[in-house]
């Protein structure tokens, strides 16, 4: 653990590890050499521990930040909605209305069915994902250092960008996927949905296994690509921030160079985070539209 802090690889690894809280089995040897006397829930102290926790662990930082940001989104937008008037909008209201109008326009362009859920979902996705992505622009050591100081644990793992955790992005993608299947079955009927899977693209009984294979792969690929696209972009972006941050340990000249690079990458990253939030929203809307298209043969 201590060696992780000192080397550059350790620095990078430390920044890429979430604050995992999970169950370790009895007799497990911790990173600091102690042995778990009995199975119990605890914070992971090393990457290995986090990996050994398996599925039954939560990333407190990912969930904490995403929920906190989601609550901020809900609070801000509901406040604007509550205080909104039909007069000339100003301040928060005009900003919120601008976002809502933008999202509404995008949804109306791609989604032509009547559904009360899709547009609010698109808004939630856009703003929430954008806010989570925005955490990437906070200098990468500030919040983790602050958390370490407050908790008094110098080895605390603390990742502030929820979208660099595949759990977060895939979690949302799964939500979208479930809705997609739900709406498909609701609009096309279970039989219709199955028919779509079995009889496309080759409408012949002999081709059913082949069709099923193709369509199922296509279906599963949707949420996975949706989640991994966002994750990959943000993960790569954060990785570059981490690499740039390494320059600060290389002396004054390299540090100044790093500062310039960080600024440039941050400016470029503003585009990336907005674009990725937008892409996630548009793809979700498109998937919802596909789930509603009854007649279309593709």
């Amino acid at each position: 653990m201590a060696s992780e802090e000192l080397t550059q690889t350790g620095y990078i690894q430390h920044h890429l590890q979430n604050m995992a809280y999970g169950k370790l089995p009895a007799g497990y040897e911790r990173a600091d050499g102690t042995v778990m006397e009995q199975a119990g829930w605890t914070l992971a102290h090393s990457t290995q521990e986090a990996a050994d926790m398996g599925f039954w662990a939560v990333h407190l930082d990912t969930l904490g930040w995403s929920i906190a940001l989601g609550v901020i989104f809900c609070w801000l937008f509901s406040k604007a909605a509550k205080g909104a008037s039909t007069g000339v909008p100003s301040g928060l209201q005009s900003f919120v209305e601008m976002v809502v109008e933008f999202v509404d326009g995008v949804v109306k362009d791609t989604f032509h069915h009547s559904n009360k859920l899709v547009a609010p979902m698109a808004l939630t996705i856009f703003v929430w994902v954008f806010m989570m992505n925005l955490m990437d622009l906070v200098p990468i050591d500030w919040l983790p250092l602050g958390a370490q100081m407050i908790s008094g644990d110098p080895h605390l793992f603390f990742k502030v960008v929820p979208t660099t955790d595949p759990n977060a992005t895939l979690g949302m993608a799964i939500g979208v996927f479930l809705l997609m299947i739900g709406f498909s079955i609701k609009n096309k009927g279970f039989g219709g949905f199955m028919k779509e899977l079995a009889l496309h693209p080759f409408n012949h009984p002999a081709m059913i296994p082949f069709n099923l294979f193709l369509e199922l792969v296509g279906l599963i690929a949707k949420p996975i690509s949706l989640g991994l696209r966002l994750f990959g972009n943000l993960y790569a972006g954060e990785m570059i921030f981490i690499l740039i941050a390494l320059l600060y340990s290389g002396g004054l000249v390299l540090g100044a160079f790093g500062a310039g690079l960080q600024w440039m990458w941050a400016v470029f990253h503003i585009l990336v985070i907005t674009l990725q939030a937008f892409v996630f929203m548009v793809l979700t809307t498109v998937y919802m539209a596909m789930a509603h298209d009854v007649d279309e043969h593709h």
Binding site: A20, F55, V58, S78, A81, A84, V100, A168, L170
Partner: protein, 156 residues
């Protein structure tokens, strides 16, 4: 980087936020925005209508002005005509009155002349009678000679 329970937690929180947004954020904002849109559209329409109304009113005002002018001109013309007519009438009346006066005067004059003639005739008859009396030196029986005298007087 491990797939774990966070996945499900994130899905649940995602669903909750979407639900919240669907219940409390989206409908309120959209309805207000639509209301405003309608208000603005109404306002624009009202402005259009007001423009049209104004144009119409201006047209009407010009027309009324023209009508009033025409009417005034008509009245003036009529008044002029009437004045001329009155003058003509007055002239005619004056002529008629003059003629009447002249005729009356003439009639009076004639009457006077006639009376003077009668008078004169009477006086001449009397004078002739008196002269004849004197000439004859005798009195003439007035009754007997009056026819003669009258005849004489009528011949004068």
């Amino acid at each position: 980087m491990n797939i774990n329970l966070t996945l499900i937690g994130q899905t649940i929180s995602f669903a909750l936020f979407v639900l919240f947004c669907m219940k409390f954020v989206w409908p309120a904002l959209i309805s207000i925005m639509e209301e405003r849109e309608k208000k603005i559209a109404d306002g624009l329409e009202a402005a259009d209508r007001a423009d049209k109304d104004l144009e119409l009113a201006q047209k009407k005002a010009t027309q009324q002005l023209r009508e009033a002018k025409e009417e005034a001109a008509g009245i003036i013309e009529q008044a002029n005509k009437r004045a001329n007519q009155i003058v003509e009438e007055a002239k005619d009346q004056a002529v008629v009155e003059g003629d009447r006066l002249k005729a009356a005067a003439e009639a009076q004059i004639e009457q006077e002349v006639n009376r003077a003639k009668e008078d004169l005739r009477g006086k001449v008859a009397a004078l002739a009678l008196a002269g004849a009396e004197k000439v004859l030196g005798a009195s003439i029986d007035e009754n007997a000679n009056s026819e003669l005298v009258n005849q004489l007087a009528a011949e004068l």
